[in-house]
C-alpha cells in the first residue's frame, strides 16, 4: 500500500536548512493498523504530511498504491487526497457553519456528486457512527467525541484506501479516546489501512504495529505480543 524508500526532506528558511527526514525507509501493507510515534522534532508530522500528499519531498521514492507520488501539481494532489486518503485531526477541523451532515458530505462535493445524493450518503455514514440524530447540529453543539466521530465519517465517506489520523485522541478524555480507537479499529477491520500519529503510549498500544521515529529515520518497529496484551487489559477494565 505504502512504500517509502530513502526519503529525504529539508525545510529551508532563509539561510538555514533543517534536514528533517534523512533517508527514511518504510513499508506499510494494505489493511495494517499502524501508529507512528516519536518525540517532537523526530519528523513525524513531516512524514504524515508527505504520506497525506500535503507536502512534497526532496529525494527518494514514495509509492502510494503502486503509484509514485512525485511532482504533482496542486490540483492533482487535491484529487489524489480526495480519492485515496481520509484525514482525521486532533482538533477535528470541522467547518463551523456547516452542520454534521454537510461536513461529512463535503469530500463528495469535491467529487462533484450532487447535493441530494451526497447528503443521503452522509446520513448513512452518520448512522453507522451512531450520530443520525445529530445530523443537523452544528459542530459547536456537539461534544468532542461526537465531533471526532463526525470527522471520522467525513474521512470515510470518500472510500479512501488510507486513513491518516494526526493525534486523533489528543483533545479527548480517555473514555472517549477509547471509543474513537474502537471505531478506528472497526474501520481497519473493513480492510482500510489506518495510520495514527500519536505520542500517547496507551493509544499506540491499541494499534497492531508501532513505528518509532528518531532523528528522521525509523528508530524501531514494535509488533510484539506484549502490547497486544496491554491493549486487551485496557479494553476490559
Amino acid at each position: 500500500m505504502i512504500s517509502i524508500e530513502n526519503l529525504h526532506k529539508s525545510y529551508v528558511t532563509g539561510n538555514n536548512s533543517l534536514h528533517v527526514l534523512k533517508g527514511l525507509n518504510l513499508e506499510i501493507k494494505e489493511g495494517e493498523f499502524v501508529s507512528i510515534m516519536g518525540s517532537s522534532g523526530s519528523g513525524k508530522s513531516t512524514l504524515l504530511n508527505i504520506l497525506g500528499v500535503l507536502d512534497d519531498y526532496d529525494k527518494g521514492n514514495y509509492y502510494l498504491s503502486g503509484k509514485r507520488i512525485w511532482g504533482l501539481n496542486e490540483t492533482q494532489a487535491a484529487i489524489t487526497r480526495n480519492a485515496m486518503i481520509g484525514f482525521i485531526f486532533q482538533s477535528f477541523n470541522l467547518i463551523s457553519f456547516k452542520n454534521a451532515m454537510e461536513n461529512v458530505a463535503l469530500p463528495l462535493y469535491y467529487q462533484k456528486i450532487n447535493r441530494k445524493k451526497r447528503n443521503l450518503i452522509a446520513m448513512e455514514y452518520l448512522d453507522r457512527l451512531g450520530l443520525k440524530d445529530w445530523a443537523h447540529h452544528l459542530p459547536s453543539e456537539m461534544s468532542g467525541g461526537q465531533k471526532q466521530r463526525v470527522a471520522i465519517a467525513r474521512a470515510l465517506i470518500s472510500n479512501p484506501k488510507i486513513i491518516l489520523a494526526d493525534e486523533p485522541t489528543g483533545a479527548l478524555d480517555s473514555q472517549t479516546s477509547l471509543e474513537v480507537m474502537d471505531i478506528l479499529k472497526e474501520v481497519n477491520d473493513q480492510g482500510i489501512t489506518v495510520i495514527i500519529v500519536t505520542h500517547e503510549h496507551d493509544i499506540a498500544a491499541l494499534t497492531k504495529k508501532i513505528i518509532r521515529l528518531k532523528d528522521g529515520v525509523i528508530g524501531e518497529v514494535i509488533t510484539n505480543g506484549d502490547l497486544q496484551m496491554y491493549r486487551d487489559r485496557v479494553k476490559h477494565e
Binding site: E74, N82, P107, Y110, R154
Partner: protein, 421 residues
C-alpha cells in the same frame, strides 16, 4: 459554479460579518452612485446645450453684408456690399461647400399685419422652402411654403402661433386672408415652436413674392445655407472661409473684411461645444472610476482579511480534496457578489435620483411655460451606460477578489492545520 453550496457558504460568511460586508458594500455602492450622478449631470448639461442647438440644423450658416472697411484693389473703403439673386444662383449651382440655400429679403420692421379689426407688427422671414429644414420650423397645421409658391409668386404666408392668437383668436386661420402692409396674403399654415416663443411671433413668406411685391429688385439681405457636415471645427472654419472667399471675389472686397460681409457658422460652435462636453464626459468617467477604485480596494482589503481568517477552513477543504480552482472560485464569487449587489444598489439609487430630478425639471418646465431656457435637460443615464457600469462592477469585483483568491489558493493545508499545535 452555480451550486447551492457555494452560495450557502458565501451567505454564511456574509452573515457572520454583517457590518463589515455592509461597510465594504457601501463604499462600492457610493462609488457607483457618484458615477451615475456625475454622468447623469453631465448628460443633463450636454442635453440642455444640445437642445439649444436643436433650434437650427447644426450645419447651418448665416451670411449678411455691410460696408467695406478695408480698401481693396484700388476701391475705397466705406463701399456698401449687397447680395443679389446671382449670388443665390452661384451658391446653389457653383459652390461645392453649400448644400441648401435660402435667401432673405427684409421687410420694413413696422410692417403691419391685419385681419378684420385686429392688427399688429410682426417680423417676416422671407425664405425658400429649404428654410424649414434649416431652421427646424415646426408646422402645427396647414403646410409650409413650397416650390410652386416660389415659381408663381404666390401671395401666401405661414404665420407663427402667436400671430394666429393675436389676429385670429379662436378662428381657424388657414384659408383666410391677412393683410401685410396692405397686401392680402393667403394663410397656408401655422408654425409653432415648443421652446422658442420668439419664433412663434414670426411669419414666413415666399422670398420671390416678397422681393417682387415689396420692390426689392434682385436685392438679397441675408443668406442662410447649410454646408456639408464635418467633424472638426477646423474643417468647418475652412468651409466658411471658402464661401467668404467666393463672395469676396464676386463683390470685390477683402476676404478678411468682416464688416463687408458677416457670417456665423453654427457648425463651428456646435463642434467646439460638443468637444467641451466630450471632455467633461471623460472627466466624469475618470472621477467616477477613481471613486469606484477606492471602493474596490476596500473590497479587496476585506477579502484579504477574510481569507486570513478562513485560512484554517481553506486548509481543511484542501486536505479533503478541494482543488485550487475551487478555492479561487469561492473567494472570487463572494467578492463579485458583494460588489455586484452593492454596486447595483448604488446604480439603482443613482439612476433613481437622476430620474427624480428629471421629473422635477419636467414638471417645472411644464409649469414655467415654453420660454424657460434651461441648460439642464433630461439628466439621466442611458441604458448603454448603465450596462457598461454593471459590467465594470462585475469586472471590478473579480479584480478585487483576485489577489485574496490567489492568496487563498496558496494556503498550504499543512500550515493552516499546524496553527492548532
Amino acid at each position: 459554479m452555480f451550486d447551492v453550496d457555494i452560495w450557502q457558504e458565501i451567505f454564511s460568511t456574509i452573515k457572520k460579518n454583517k457590518l463589515r460586508t455592509f461597510l465594504t458594500g457601501f463604499s462600492v455602492a457610493w462609488g457607483i452612485f457618484m458615477l451615475m450622478v456625475l454622468l447623469g449631470s453631465g448628460n443633463g448639461l450636454s442635453n440642455g446645450v444640445k437642445e439649444q442647438f436643436a433650434e437650427n440644423a447644426v450645419n447651418v450658416m448665416w451670411m449678411w453684408t455691410g460696408e467695406t472697411s478695408i480698401p481693396y484693389n484700388g476701391l475705397k473703403e466705406g463701399r456698401p456690399v449687397k447680395f443679389n439673386n446671382q449670388d443665390y444662383d452661384f451658391l446653389t449651382t457653383k459652390s461645392k461647400e453649400v448644400e441648401k440655400v435660402s435667401s432673405r429679403y427684409y421687410l420694413p420692421n413696422d410692417i403691419l399685419y391685419a385681419y378684420g379689426k385686429e392688427y399688429g407688427s410682426f417680423e417676416t422671414s422671407t425664405c425658400y422652402p429649404t428654410l424649414q429644414e434649416m431652421e427646424m420650423i415646426n408646422i402645427n397645421s396647414g403646410r409650409f411654403i413650397n416650390e410652386l409658391d416660389m415659381q408663381d409668386f404666390r401671395k401666401v404666408v405661414v404665420i407663427g402661433d402667436e400671430i394666429r392668437k393675436a389676429l385670429f383668436k379662436e378662428e381657424e386661420p388657414i384659408g383666410k386672408y391677412v393683410r401685410i402692409g396692405g397686401v392680402p396674403f393667403y394663410v397656408i399654415g401655422v408654425s409653432k415652436d415648443k421652446k422658442n416663443s420668439d419664433k412663434n411671433r414670426q411669419a414666413y413668406m415666399p422670398f420671390s413674392t416678397a422681393q417682387r411685391i415689396f420692390s426689392g429688385g434682385d436685392r438679397v439681405h441675408t443668406f442662410t445655407v447649410t454646408s456639408k457636415i464635418v467633424q472638426t471645427s477646423e474643417e468647418a472654419e475652412a468651409i466658411s472661409d471658402k464661401i467668404r472667399d467666393d463672395m469676396a471675389k464676386r463683390h470685390a472686397f477683402d476676404p478678411k473684411d468682416t464688416r463687408a460681409m458677416g457670417s456665423f457658422n453654427m457648425l463651428t460652435q456646435y463642434i467646439r461645444t460638443m468637444k467641451i462636453f466630450q471632455a467633461i464626459n471623460l472627466f466624469v468617467w475618470i472621477i467616477g472610476i477613481g471613486t469606484l477604485i477606492a471602493g474596490i480596494v476596500g473590497v479587496s482589503n476585506i477579502m484579504l482579511i477574510l481569507v486570513k481568517e478562513r485560512t484554517r477552513e481553506i486548509g481543511i477543504r484542501k486536505a479533503i480534496g478541494a482543488t485550487p480552482m475551487s478555492v479561487i472560485g469561492l473567494v472570487l464569487l463572494e467578492s463579485v457578489l458583494i460588489t455586484t449587489v452593492a454596486g447595483y444598489i448604488g446604480l439603482v439609487m443613482g439612476v433613481g435620483l437622476m430620474e427624480l430630478i428629471n421629473m422635477g425639471l419636467e414638471r417645472a418646465a411644464a409649469a414655467g411655460g415654453p420660454s424657460n431656457n434651461t441648460f439642464f435637460l433630461n439628466p439621466t443615464v442611458d441604458f448603454k451606460t448603465a450596462v457598461s457600469a454593471t459590467l465594470i462592477l462585475i469586472l471590478s469585483g473579480a479584480l478585487a477578489g483576485y489577489l485574496p483568491a490567489r492568496k487563498a489558493a496558496n494556503v498550504t493545508p499543512i500550515e493552516a492545520l499546524r496553527d492548532e499545535n
